[in-house]
């Protein structure tokens, strides 16, 4: 079977960036495809912004190459790249009207005044700011300024639009509304978007694919579901959402069966597939809080789990704290081993939150498909 070959719009080839002794980006290799909404995700100081600034041209890589649409752009200044950026502070020029702001890029490109005006007005329509052209930036709200910054970048029809923490300066309600709107806008204009964010919800909600970065290294690249359900290591598992990690030893590793023995869990952890690790090696069994079931511990008979041999994947504990969030409740359960486990449970009916309460003895049980074994 032959796969159609898609030329990536951005190729980052073994890019390293050093600021004096500080290694900001460490040997990053990444391909971003045309039309993608791509997110660079990571905690502050992980190098994601440096990588974005290298794509924009504000920093030059110490080593490696950056290709845009097949051409090496590593040493091309930002004003000569087919790329535009929406800055974290929006950087709307305060002394220019909204229309002048939006048409600035076209003016620099030598587009005639009449066409400039037309295109700028159309771009303002696109971001739902039609009729705002004569206003000055100090008459706009934060959200409106962001739209101006978006229009100012999109009007130039760049091959790639870069967004640096685009939603971080907005309040919570507006932020969520803008998530949908940005994704919709990207769909409408069909331009590749590359977004930097430290907010995992933002990346999961908007991006087609995301790269998780940690300390200058690309930890994992994949779709939001891949990153969440199949994290490559403990960092990714922990950074996206929350996760319960049981440190243990890989006791059995066969093609159709693996067992992790964990003193933290207090029970052997069973999977129905092999993990291709060295038997006896230290591994971490990761289980997401929403994938663990709570059962009453009225008698000492552990609950049965489908397809899991009895005695596996069940742990005894006591509820220490309940946190009621409306749509769901978070339970912090202390196992008999002393290990603390986080369990979330949706409140499907109006009475569900009353099922479990403080200091209640419970069984924790999870299906073998809910477990992922991490080796790093």
């Amino acid at each position: 079977m032959t796969q159609p070959i898609i030329q990536p719009i951005i190729q980052i080839e073994s890019v390293t960036k050093r600021f004096g002794p500080v290694l900001a980006v460490d040997d990053a290799t990444l391909a971003i495809l045309p039309g993608e909404f791509f997110a660079l995700l990571g905690p502050s100081g992980c190098g994601k912004t440096t990588l974005l600034r290298m794509i924009a041209g504000f920093e030059a890589p110490t080593e490696g190459r950056i290709l845009i649409d097949g051409q090496d752009m590593s040493r091309v200044p930002p004003n000569k790249r087919p790329i535009n950026m929406v800055f974290q502070s929006y950087a709307v020029f305060p002394h220019m009207s909204v229309l002048d702001n939006v048409s600035y890029g076209l003016k620099m490109a030598g587009v005639a005044a009449a066409e400039r005006r037309d295109r700028a007005e159309r771009a303002l329509e696109q971001v739902k700011l039609a009729g705002f052209g004569t206003r000055t930036p100090d008459q706009l709200s934060g959200g409106q300024r962001q739209r101006v910054a978006l229009a100012r970048a999109l009007v130039n029809q760049p091959k790639v639009l870069l967004l640096d923490e685009p939603l971080s300066a907005l309040d919570a309600k507006l932020r969520e509304a803008m998530r949908f709107e940005l994704a919709q806008l990207q769909d409408d204009v069909g331009i590749t978007f590359v977004m930097v964010t430290h907010d995992q919800d933002e990346a999961l909600a908007m991006a087609c694919r995301a790269a998780v970065m940690n300390r200058g290294l690309l930890a994992q690249t994949g779709t939001p579901a891949e990153l969440y359900e199949f994290p490559a290591n403990r960092f990714v598992a922990d950074f996206l959402g929350s996760v319960n990690l049981f440190e243990g030893r890989l006791a059995v590793d066969e093609p159709h069966r693996a067992v992790v023995e964990s003193a933290q869990a207090g029970c052997p952890i069973y999977l129905d597939h092999g993990v291709t690790g060295a038997t006896g090696a230290t591994v971490w069994a990761a289980v997401r809080p929403e994938k663990i079931e709570l059962h009453k511990r009225a008698d000492e008979r552990p609950p049965a789990i489908e397809d899991v041999p009895s005695g596996y994947n069940v742990a005894r504990g006591t509820i220490r704290t309940v946190s009621y969030l409306g749509s769901e409740s978070i339970y912090l359960v202390t196992l008999e081993t002393g290990h603390e486990v986080r369990v979330t449970r949706p409140n499907l009916t109006r009475w569900d939150q009353e099922d479990f309460t403080w200091d209640e003895p419970v069984w924790l049980a999870w299906h073998h498909e809910s477990v992922i074994v991490l080796q790093a």
Binding site: N79, I83, P94, H95, Y104, G105, A149
Partner: protein
Amino acid sequence: MKPMVEPLDYLRRGWMRLWLGVVFLFLYAPLLALVAFSFNDSKRNIVWKGFTLKYYQKAWENSGLVEAFGNSLAIAFVATVVSVVLGGMAALLLWRFRFPAKSVLSGLFGLPIVVPEICMGVAMLTFFVKIGWPADLPWPLNLGAVTMAHISFCFPFVAIVVGARLVSFNPEMEEAARDLGASDWDVLRDILVPHMKPALIAGALLAFTLSLDDFVITFFTSGPNTVTFPVKVYSMVRFALTPAVNAASTVLMAITILLTVLALRAQRGLQSSAQAH
């Protein structure tokens, strides 16, 4: 019961009001006397004899005084223009670039502000004599020496005001312009200079008033044909303290106050536009 005095209500405390009154009296009484006596119909500035404008007319008819006034304005104008350009560039240089001995250069720019004026005056005099600066050039070229001296102490003030303004510049503005296709020159013209504008105006007015008022340095660098207004007033006062001097000084004061008000307004524009983002 006495009304409560809030902790920050300084002006509602009697002793504070008294102190304030004394301060204002010391500061402004001499100036008010000067202005008042410029309208006094008497040759001697001792007793009030009646209102007149004739000393303004006398001052106007004193060709030496008018010429000195013209010299002062010409020097102040040229010194202001050059100081704004030099000071603006110096501020940009110190703000934008990294280079060895930057702090030394920054200190050197500030030197004319800290060096006592008398030393500056003597140094300038020695310098111009040493290089044999011609004293008999036609007007306005004969003002060259004084103008250069004024520029040397005016432009550091402009650099300081502009430098303070540049601190509030958001570097993402420059990057945004670059990202939109602007060259370095485009950034300077379209982004940086508009940002610096209120400071450039304030700096210009500062330079203008400094140049107009300066006595010590001017005294050492002006020749017999290049007398400025303050130097002329000084020489007139040595003979007699006539009301014409009062009148001329009042005019100078009015100009200075007007420019200060304009400078403050520009500063206010500077603050409000800084708050906008």
